[in-house]
């Protein structure tokens, strides 16, 4: 009521009238202070009154517009609306929240919702109309920003999910479908626990407890379960959703698939481990290989001086064989060192022949025949020692896989490709093959399918060496009975990576 008082007093300075005295003044104040344009017109459509909000919204001053036709506010293409409005008014009808378009003085069109009521004289005869026009531009903008937000949510790479405080999913975006495999139809209305592996269900209680307390959970790394039962590593950020009064009514959850990052992290850790192992190996090698050398010599001497047919000689012979075993494993595990010679020009088939010579007796013992098709007409610049290591690792694996003999096919040829020209070497065995689930892991350090006999270093080193030379290595394998085997393809480009040339010139 006080509001009205002030308004009135400002209209009529010096005279303070109690608000209850004249209801008309009261109404005038309301009209004047309304945020929405309030306009009255007669039944011919001539504007009779015009409030401040009308001036603000339409841009016309009172003097400009009162006495003019209401059609000035209606875009020409909508002039027919006015006839319809007038006919309804004459019939004493009211028009509620009619959404249409009106035009400003500037010519700008804007959306409005109009409510039009007939104005009657004391005798109840309709003499005109009052019109309240609500500018909808803002509402449109709000709607637009809502659509925009929805579009952002749907195009996000991260799963964005909302849920209520009982853990029931309320919304589910596209990425959530991509990451978890459930569609929005499958998840909305369902408990979020479906995404949590049973042994981690306790996490949800903790999350809900924090949310109810209004707390937020940032970049929490955990495991979630996909529709197909597979587990994935995710980083989740959960924030409470509040209503207008500030009460927490639910939560939004953003989940990022971090499986790839975790994988890389694990590889880095393994690479670190390998480097540390390498350093340790070098240190231990000296302390093991030197005493081994002495022991081997001592046993050899003892055997020479003992009676040839005596028991002692037999013992010493066995000791020597055992020592040979120790030496072998020491060389294998402690002996990986890099070739430091500068790269030289060689024919790859010559290196392959060298390696095959070394494995000749093994190949014969295992009953493996080698089918060689060498057609590399050009030399490549490689570090001999490294390339021999690459080829012998692969050939040794092939021999290990072909326990029952068979054919080992090795071919080399020149290839011209968009990635550059070079030599392609294909080594194909008909061994047991590599299981599908291991295929992505065979180049990882310390991964082996040979149990205790493998070090898990061979293919990893091989890949490092090939890629270090600017080449590529790929593998195809099948474990299908009767058709099993593995094919390793190595491409060595003729061009040498810049950093290798620099090293060579140093």
């Amino acid at each position: 009521m006080e509001y009205g008082t002030i308004k009135i007093s400002s209209n009529q300075p010096g005279k303070i009238a109690p608000p209850t005295l004249d209801p008309r003044l009261h109404l005038a104040a309301i009209v004047a202070s309304s945020d929405d344009p309030i306009i009255s017109k007669d039944l011919n459509g001539t504007i009779m009154s015009w409030n401040e909000a009308a001036t603000r919204v339409f841009g016309y001053g009172v003097d400009e517009i009162v006495g003019q036709s209401i059609l000035r506010l209606i875009p020409p293409e909508l002039h027919h609306e006015e006839a319809m409005i007038l006919s309804k008014l004459r019939a004493g009808e009211r028009i509620d929240h009619f959404e249409t378009v009106r035009v400003k003085k500037s010519g700008e069109k804007f959306p409005v919702s109009v409510t039009i009521s007939p104005v009657k004289d004391a005798g109840g005869r309709v003499i005109g109309a009052s019109k309240i026009a609500h500018d909808l531009s803002d509402r449109r903008k709000n709607a637009e920003s809502r659509f925009q937000l929805a579009a952002i949510v749907d195009s996000a790479d991260d799963a964005i999910i909302s849920k209520d405080l009982n853990g029931i999913v309320k919304s589910w975006n596209e990425a959530a479908y991509r990451i978890f495999g459930y569609t929005s139809e499958e998840m909305v209305g369902q408990p979020i626990l479906r995404l949590i592996p049973p042994d981690l269900h306790y996490e949800e209680d903790e999350i809900l407890r924090k949310l109810r307390a209004g707390e937020r959970i940032d970049h929490y790394e955990t495991i979630r379960r996909k529709k197909n039962g597979e587990n994935i590593e995710v980083s989740v950020t959960i924030s409470p959703i509040r209503d207008e009064t500030g009460r927490v009514i639910g939560a939004s959850k953003i989940a990022r698939d971090i499986s790839d990052r975790k994988r890389i992290e694990r590889l880095l850790i393994q690479a670190e481990k390998l480097a540390a192992t390498g350093r340790m190996a070098a240190a231990i090698a000296h302390e093991i290989n030197n005493p081994l050398e002495s022991l081997m010599n001592l046993i050899f001497l003892a055997r020479q001086t003992s009676a040839n047919d005596g028991k002692t000689n037999t013992y010493l012979l066995t000791a020597e064989q055992e020592l040979e075993r120790v030496s072998h494993i020491a060389r294998q595990t402690l002996g990986f060192y890099r070739d430091t010679n500068s790269p030289t020009e060689v024919y790859l088939h010559e290196l392959l022949e060298n390696v095959l010579t070394v494995y000749n007796s093994k190949l014969i013992t295992a009953g493996i025949s080698v089918d060689m098709r060498f057609n590399d007409l050009h030399k490549v610049v490689v570090s001999r020692g490294e390339m021999i290591q690459v080829l012998s690792n692969i050939i040794a694996n092939a021999i290990d896989a072909m326990r029952e003999g068979g054919t080992l096919s090795i071919s080399t040829r020149n290839v011209i490709s968009s990635a550059g020209d070079g030599i392609q070497t294909v080594i194909q065995d008909h061994g047991t093959g590599i299981k599908q689930e291991y295929m992505t892991r065979i180049f990882e350090p310390f991964f082996t399918t040979k149990g205790d006999l493998g070090t898990g270093i061979g293919l990893w080193v091989t890949k490092q060496l090939v890629e270090g030379r600017g080449g590529q290595i790929s593998v195809a394998s099948s474990t299908e009975k009767g058709n099993s085997g593995t094919t390793i393809t190595i491409f060595i480009p003729f061009s040498v990576p810049a950093q290798l040339i620099e090293v060579g010139q140093e």
Binding site: A283, A285, N290, E293, S294, L295, N297, R331, Y337
Partner: protein
């Protein structure tokens, strides 16, 4: 000839006499060992030098052992080895430095390095940069293989 020289010596310079005597002994030994290939074995691990020496002697080589690089260079001056078999990682003078010194003194000497250590690439690279590359055998090596290796050398 040497005997004549000693006989005609009138100064009782004990030191000189000893040197000449040892030179004579070396020459005498040289005569009896003629035809046997000479191997200079160098390692800072005494046991390795001693056992390899005994094994190679038994296999028909004439062996001299040294426990460090300097002693080996000195010994090579008298011994004129056909082969140098040396460890790589040794204090004061490493195997590559020794091998380079020997190669400069006696280009005909065949050099074989042996090592039980993986981390010696730096030492080998230093040799390469001076233009010297030597064959490297990993330790441990079975005595019979070592003998075969030496016998197959030209």
């Amino acid at each position: 000839m040497l005997q004549v020289k000693i006989g005609s010596m009138y100064v009782a310079d004990e030191f000189l006499q000893k040197r000449v005597e040892s030179g004579w002994k070396a020459a005498e030994q040289d005569k009896t060992q003629r035809g046997r290939p000479k191997v200079l074995v160098v390692d800072d691990e005494k046991l390795i030098v001693d056992t390899i020496s005994e094994i190679l002697e038994g296999a028909g080589f004439h062996v001299m052992g040294a426990y460090d690089g300097w002693t080996a260079v000195e010994a090579a001056g008298r011994f004129r080895p056909d082969y140098l078999l040396s460890d790589v990682l040794m204090p004061r003078m490493n195997g590559v430095e020794l091998a380079i010194a020997i190669r400069k003194m006696y280009p005909e000497t065949t050099v074989l390095l042996f090592s039980g250590q993986a981390g010696i690439s730096e030492i080998l690279r230093n040799g390469q940069q001076q233009g010297f590359e030597f064959e490297l055998i990993p330790k441990p090596i079975h005595p019979l293989k070592l003998i075969a290796r030496l016998k197959e050398q030209p």
